[in-house]
């Protein structure tokens, strides 16, 4: 505790002297209302923090707390401070920090909070509110490689609001292509539209989109699994068996959905080798 406090103070003083104070002056406070000052704090202490400090250490919290102590309106400090908590299930600590980041910089952090609610904690209603707000603030933008409509579609699908989800996924694809059907769409946009149609029991469309996904990423384990499920529903045992075998092999070879946050969270409708093997046993 004492060591942590000393570190904190050292950092605070260092930051004050090096970033905010004129050399001839003894001690001045930073002008935190200045975007330039806040940007310089972020650039100097937070932008490359992950390369210097492991976020499950007290030092990580000390750096974030010190920046907050200098300028309590640096949104990124709150967002970074929350990382170890969100990744280890401590939501009472994580979300007040995320909320503060959104309050300070809604254009930057509303979609990110929506992403956390959608993927990390499965608060689908809360995520939809955030993504709709984010769409108003920064129209047709992206968060973690996907459009806001992609995540809204995932949430609506998980809530069984299938018509809304279909609308969301189509908007997601339209933003990616601008209406040009020759342009490549993200394989997971195609995958989830296929899964949605599977849930809607429209097996022809499900097959069409899952095959489109596999045309881009043929080892996609979940796309192969759900395509097998589609063939199972349409009584095509041969193709059901074929795609389950491909899915099993893909899992054994280490393929997955390929999303950055797969190590931390299970994505909607994500399966594992276990579910594939169970399906094979039932054949």
């Amino acid at each position: 505790m004492v060591k942590s406090l000393i570190l904190s103070l050292n950092f605070l003083l260092f930051a004050l002297f090096s970033s905010c104070q004129q050399p001839s002056q003894k001690l001045v406070s930073c002008d935190c209302s200045s975007q330039r000052v806040r940007d310089s704090l972020v650039e100097k202490y937070l932008d490359n923090l992950v390369e210097r400090v492991w976020y499950n250490t007290p030092e990580w919290q000390t750096v974030c707390d010190s920046v907050i102590a200098i300028c309590p309106n640096v949104a990124q400090a709150y967002e970074l401070k929350a990382i170890p908590f969100i990744k280890y299930g401590d939501y009472a600590k994580a979300f007040p920090l995320e909320d503060k980041a959104v309050e300070l910089e809604p254009k930057h952090f509303t979609a990110y909070r929506g992403f956390l609610k959608c993927i990390f904690i499965k608060d689908y209603e809360g995520a939809i509110i955030d993504f709709q707000k984010a769409q108003e603030l920064v129209p047709n933008s992206y968060e973690m490689d996907h459009t806001y409509f992609f995540y809204e579609g995932l949430c609506n699908m998980e809530l069984a609001h299938y018509t809304k989800a279909e609308e969301n996924f189509k908007k997601d694809i339209f933003i990616q292509t601008g209406g040009d059907t020759a342009k490549t769409v993200h394989y997971n946009s195609l995958f989830y539209l296929g899964v949605l149609y599977y849930e809607m029991k429209d097996y022809e469309l499900a097959k069409e989109y899952l095959l489109k996904c596999l045309a881009v990423y043929k080892q996609h384990p979940e796309a192969n699994y759900y395509l097998a499920m589609v063939y199972g529903k349409t009584k095509n045992k041969i193709l059901e068996k074929k795609y389950l075998a491909i899915s099993k092999q893909a899992f054994e070879d280490g393929y997955n959905l390929v999303e950055d946050n797969i190590p931390y969270a299970n994505y909607p409708h994500q399966v594992t080798l276990y579910e594939v093997e169970q399906a094979i046993k039932k054949l």
Binding site: G89, P263, T272
Partner: protein, 172 residues
């Protein structure tokens, strides 16, 4: 004489009623083990010196439980059904623990509870204990081995998302 006997009977009844209430209250509203860093279901530490803790987290070692969230959810719901109890409340119940060098969940388990707005909250203790009992049935955790075959423990967690007293989702 009658009055005297009745007086003692009333007193005994009062003690019995108060005892029953305290017993019930300690079950329904009681807390677990409170340590400076939080509330625990179990505080028993690891005594296996060969299995040293290097502060590794599940996400560093591909250590998510090897079942889909949906499969775990169905298993949890089946488990709770056998208990045949009903509960209330919305929010999240999280258990944090360590998987040892043999892939077994260690006893020491921290519990965190919030409402649906992520504000600290306490669900019925019986509900938390049932979920904890289910957690202890999860026995397929991965063993983390490095390239030389040495095994290491890692930190993991499971969160139960609760809606109207029912488990509706599993995190991760």
């Amino acid at each position: 004489m009658f009055v005297y006997r009745n007086f003692h009977f009333d007193k005994a009844m009062k003690i019995l009623i108060i005892s029953c209430f305290l017993l019930f209250a300690s079950h329904a509203f009681g807390q677990n083990f409170i340590l400076p860093d939080g509330e625990y279901m179990d505080t028993a530490a690891n005594n296996n010196s060969a299995c040293k803790d290097y502060n590794i987290y599940f996400y560093q070692v591909n250590g998510k439980y090897p079942r889909s969230s949906y499969t775990i959810l169905k298993e949890a719901q089946s488990f709770l059904k056998t208990k045949n109890n009903s509960y209330e409340g919305n929010g999240y119940i999280t258990f944090q623990f360590t998987i040892d060098c043999e892939g077994k969940k260690m006893n020491k388990t921290r519990v965190l509870q919030t409402d649906e707005k992520y504000i600290a909250y306490h669900f019925d203790k019986g509900f938390v204990e049932e979920l904890y009992a289910f957690l202890n049935t999860m026995d397929q955790w991965k063993i983390f081995k490095n390239k030389t075959g040495q095994t290491f423990p890692y930190k993991a967690f499971i969160t139960f998302k609760i809606k109207n007293g029912k488990v509706v989702n599993i995190i991760p």
